[in-house]
Amino acid sequence: MRLSYPTNVKVVKVPCTGRVDVLMVLKALESGVDGVYLAGCEIGDCHFLKGNLRAVKRIAYAKELLKEVGIEPERVEMYHIATSDGPRFAQVAKEMTEKIRALGPNPVKDKNKAFKA
């Protein structure tokens, strides 16, 4: 298909979106990324039955935590994209990039030098 999607999207592979924990999302934002989205399988299509449904709930929880912190919850999103749906993957990458670009950079970026392990 030779589809292209924005180069700023870094793909982190996980065996299933059910593997993704709220802390992973928070740590990513802590490290200075501008946004995080999960590309899970379509609802009802999870190979592990409920992984993507768990991810939906965890992303909702992560959004609540971000609201508490005062960071835009829109920086975190859940998408459902069929494994074979390349065009949709590229479209979502573009959509999310545009959305985050409109929000501006992560407010903790460049201020996080004070972070220590």
Binding site: L23, L26, E30, E68, K111, A114, F115
Partner: protein
């Protein structure tokens, strides 16, 4: 287990405002099981605090540490080697653990990150429910294993009251009437004669009304001079 809730971030941020180096102390017991103050929640709170500080241009150094328990001094004392590197401890244990940590380190500021709520059970993953108030004198043998002290809003001993309607409590339509549960269960057990018994006025001195309680088992105590 003891069940608690994480305090809202805003409240915790206000408490830690004066500090730049904090020790965030979780507990591996009940508060881990009720998903409020275990290793995982320590990680989430640490991340939230760091994000919030960074967003507002401040600095914060957080050491995440989760003890096996915060209600036994042998475990609390494990933080001795590094506790002085931090200005304050934020404890994610229950009220007992928070206090005992403060007691072991009298010169250290210990702040609570948990609102301790009740003694309860896990109904399903993510749902906990109150079952016991530690009143010090159990009568579950008379009430079909359902506690009127903890589960009746009025702690009635000879219920139900007039607020019981269709098996629910007037305090909250989602709360079952404890006395309805008791009667149903006694019926099932063929023990309705227990319901006929008038339960006498309770001696609340065994409960909180008698002041803070201490339990001693002399046979287990280690003499101070040994």
């Amino acid at each position: 287990m003891i069940v608690g809730n994480r305090k809202p971030l805003e409240e915790i941020l206000e408490m830690v405002k004066p500090y730049k180096k904090i020790l965030l102390l979780g507990c591996n017991e009940c508060i881990t099981v009720c998903a409020a103050g275990g290793e995982r929640e320590v990680g989430v709170l640490a991340s939230e605090l760091k994000l919030s500080r960074a967003k507002n241009g401040g600095e914060i150094e957080i050491k995440e540490h989760t003890l096996e328990r915060q209600c036994d001094f042998e475990y609390i004392d494990q933080i001795k080697p590094f506790v002085d590197d931090y200005e304050a401890i934020v404890s994610m244990a229950c009220g007992a653990g928070i206090q005992y940590t403060a007691e072991r380190f009298p010169g250290k500021v210990v702040l609570p990150a948990i609102n301790t709520t009740f003694l309860g059970v896990t109904l399903e993953q993510g749902v906990w429910s109150e079952r016991c108030q530690g009143c010090g004198e159990c009568i579950l043998h008379l009430t079909g294993g359902i506690c009127p002290v903890a589960r009746c809003a009025k702690s009635l001993f000879n219920g139900p009251c007039g607020g019981s309607s269709n098996g629910k409590c007037e305090v909250n339509p989602d709360t079952p009437c404890a006395w309805q549960l008791i009667v149903d269960r006694l019926k099932e057990l063929g023990q309705l004669e227990n319901y006929e018994k008038i339960i006498e006025v309770k001696n609340w001195s065994t409960s909180r009304d008698g002041g803070p309680r201490t339990r001693v088992r002399e046979d287990l105590r280690i003499p101070k001079d040994s």
